[in-house]
Amino acid sequence: MRRPFHACVTVGCLAGAVLFVAAAQAAEPKHGGILKLYHRESPGSASIHEEATYSTNVPFMPVFNNLVIYDQHVAQNSLQSIVPELAASWAWGKDNTELTFRLRQGVKWHDGNPFTSKDVKCTIDMLMGKSSAKFRKNPRENWYQNVAEITTNGDYEAVFHLKRPQPALLALLASGYSPIYPCHVSPADMRQHPIGTGPFKFVEWKQNESIKLTRNPDYWKRGRPYLDGIEFTIISNRSTAMLAFIAGRLDMTFPTEVSIPLLKDVAAQAPQAVCKLAPLNVSTNIILNRDTPPFNNPAIRRALALTLDRKAFVDILSEGKADIGASMLPPPEGVWGMPKKMLETITGYGPDVAKNRAEARALMEQQGYGPDKRLNIKVSTRNLAVYRDPAVILIDQLKEIYIDGELEPVETGSWFAKVARKDYVIGLNLTGNSVDDPDQNFYENYACGSERNYTQYCNKELEARFDQQSIETDIEKRKKLVWDIDKQLQEDVARPILFHGRQATCWQPYVKGVTVMVNSSYNGYRYEDLWLDK
């Protein structure tokens, strides 16, 4: 009896060993192969610094490096997940107003020129509008408003001198929107033929057709990238793109481009596909013209806040798979969003919608409106489904407080011009936050005079608190400050947030090393660790 038992154990051990070796081999990244995915559109340009859409980040982030970057294997971006990239290390000094980066040596641009501290200085100077070379447009100039100047100390050290302490500057520098550009290439050339230091070199971009990248054999990170190249086929029709993925023609979908209904299709027709549904850190929100009637009246603004049934938006538009929150992305994926308990104390966020609306109607009646005297307004929005659909629900909800809204779809080309002219009463808008950090969100969307503060909401007292949270180094203390500010923004009906959307990314099971970021859709596309197991 013992012999067979021993034999079994031996066979079992052998089998186990074989499986272990096989598993270890399977987990070992392989070099080679071209990653094929689709791109949803032909982007405006290849220059990440001149664009504010991830249509540019996704294909061109692999061409570049930052000084620091969010760890590409950690799904939640935070100050703790920042790792060095072109900077070998960094150090804060002089009361946290100096940030010194020691730069990696021996790094070369794709055209063979050496990377030095001059490139760091000229990139940031250009972003600050201080250099003779200018970007055609510079959407993130205000990220660097606290930077007084950049100095260099030899070829491999760059120092950021700040006007006041700002620990979150690192968070901004770690974003996919913060690549270092070469000094010797003009902004115009960077729009069409980008030169970087990143894991992939730009090969060609055929408008409306394809974008091709190839492996950088001289990449400074040994053994990376694993892929020989990346090819983006530009497929503007989403149905065609999804069918191409389902048919196995593509290895991966365009990141975060699979909507909830499409996700069901993929699960049914390509069950082998791996899909990850994640928040985009893009909020659907309302913009109000606070300078003209009726929303120059705080009581009517408050009535509007009280009539919103956010759950209805979420249920109708995304089958319950979106998040209700304030301005900062709610937890657990969002780092800075306030707890649910606190959220529900904000005007209009309470669960008893009927009670909120009764209060809203009473406010409207005090202003002279009622069932017999209704307020007629136009609800303006971009003529795109993702904007129009929530606008229609908003119009329905406004009826509850004696407001009859008429949808005004605005052609995309004139939307921001119209908003900038304040030629609207109420609008439905989407706001993407590229970095899950209050410094990016508050200064960009709510600071007095910011170009992306569409409503031109301006509260100097609150802005002083923006600075207060920005200076704070203790994360827990900073969180509390941020929650209070966010609550105040919602109470002021600065830009009422309806919901934070979620979308999915899908890939074939042989694509390995994919990490979908859960609190930003702009930062996770370096692709140097992706590999194909086939």
């Binding site: 094929k36 032909s42 982007p43 405006g44 001149e50 664009e51 504010a52 859409t53 249509s55 540019t56 055609r136 447009k137 510079n138 959407p139 115009a188 729009r191 069409q192 055929k206 408008q207 409306n208 057709e209 086929t233 497929i235 503007s236 029709n237 149905s239 065609t240 069918l243 191409a244 389902i246 048919a247 196995g248 023609r249 593509l250 027709q269 052609e411 995309t412 080309g413 004139s414 939307w415 921001f416 011009a417 900038a420 706001t431 993407g432 170009e451 992306r452």
Partner: protein
């Protein structure tokens, strides 16, 4: 004939001039310009930067000056630069023309080769079961939107063959290209074939009732000779007109089909260029398409005389 040709040629020039003015003005009436669209992807408008872009592209100059600059360049063969890609417009347009031309030719061939014979059969077998089936097919062809048909075809390919006939890489051989383009050509040509079939049927029915057809039959000509030699030859004249017009309409169908099948032709490129308000691309492409349509109509007029010797153009 020479006088007629000269008059037609002058008319062609005048038509093209009119089209150039209309497209130039219409484009500028559309809200927003390239600067607005560029800022759309930045999520804001910076008035100073916007003005700078407009100045660089010459969009701040009077519209008449802009028009003169464009036409002057066009006459010298200079199509200007694409606002979006910042490359010469000719380099953007030229590689896409052959793709669309092949697709359009295939679609037209498909519609004629399917529409004419089926129209003849339908007329010859009027009120038979086959006639009813063909009439239902032609009606469905006319009422089915091209994008819907295109998507249905793609879905059928994916579920039946596990593959999808779309353009992701340049085809390796002419045969590959033919295979790749034949499916979208069929999708876009189906509507035209339905129209041609219905017209062939009604034209044939009219001709088949004529005395000379009865005479031909009385002389002992075979049904085949009667139908194809005597009847079809006389019924084909209105068809030639329609085929000429359909060639122009195909461009509209191709915009949708190129999008659904992801074909990098001029039709889809034109839509993108309109979206980006890339004036040099749109203006030159529309002029090119207009030239094709005008020339096609001219050829159709000439074909009348060839097909029907009774037609002689007056001085």
């Amino acid at each position: 004939m020479a006088g007629y040709l000269a008059r037609r040629f002058l008319l062609m020039i005048l038509t093209l001039f009119g089209i150039s003015v209309i497209i130039f003005v219409l484009l500028r009436l559309v809200p927003g310009n390239i600067a607005d669209i560029l800022f759309d992807s930045a999520g804001m408008i910076n008035p100073v930067e916007k003005k700078q872009i407009e100045r660089e592209l010459g969009l701040d100059r009077p519209i008449a000056v802009q028009y003169a600059h464009w036409i002057g360049g066009l006459l010298e063969g200079d199509l200007g630069y694409s606002y979006k890609s910042e490359r010469p417009a000719i380099e953007e347009i030229a590689p896409r023309i052959p793709i669309t031309a092949k697709l359009a030719a295939l679609a037209l061939a498909f519609s004629v080769l399917l529409g004419v014979p089926l129209g003849v059969v339908s007329a010859v077998r009027q009120n038979s079961a086959l006639d009813y089936v063909l009439r239902v097919i032609s009606l469905s062809g006319l009422s089915m939107p091209a994008f819907w048909l295109g998507l249905l075809i793609l879905m059928a390919f994916v579920s039946a063959f596990g593959t999808i006939p779309i353009y992701t890489d340049p085809p390796q051989s002419p045969w590959d290209e033919l295979l790749l383009l034949s499916v979208p050509a069929a999708a876009v040509g189906f509507r035209s074939s339905a129209l041609i079939m219905r017209l062939t049927r009604s034209a044939m029915l009219e001709v088949l009732r004529q005395d000379y057809i009865r005479t031909a039959r009385a002389k002992g000509a075979s049904e085949r000779t009667v139908n194809y030699h005597h009847a079809l030859r006389n019924a084909i004249l209105p068809l030639v007109t329609v085929i000429g017009i359909e060639a122009a309409f195909l461009i509209g169908g191709l915009i949708v089909t190129e999008t659904v099948f992801n074909i990098p032709g001029v039709a889809r490129f034109l839509v993108e260029a309109i979206r980006w308000r890339d004036y040099p691309i749109v203006q030159n492409l529309v002029m090119f398409i207009a030239l094709i349509v005008v020339v096609a109509n001219f050829i159709v007029d000439l074909l009348y005389a060839v097909l029907d010797p009774r037609i002689r153009y007056a001085r």
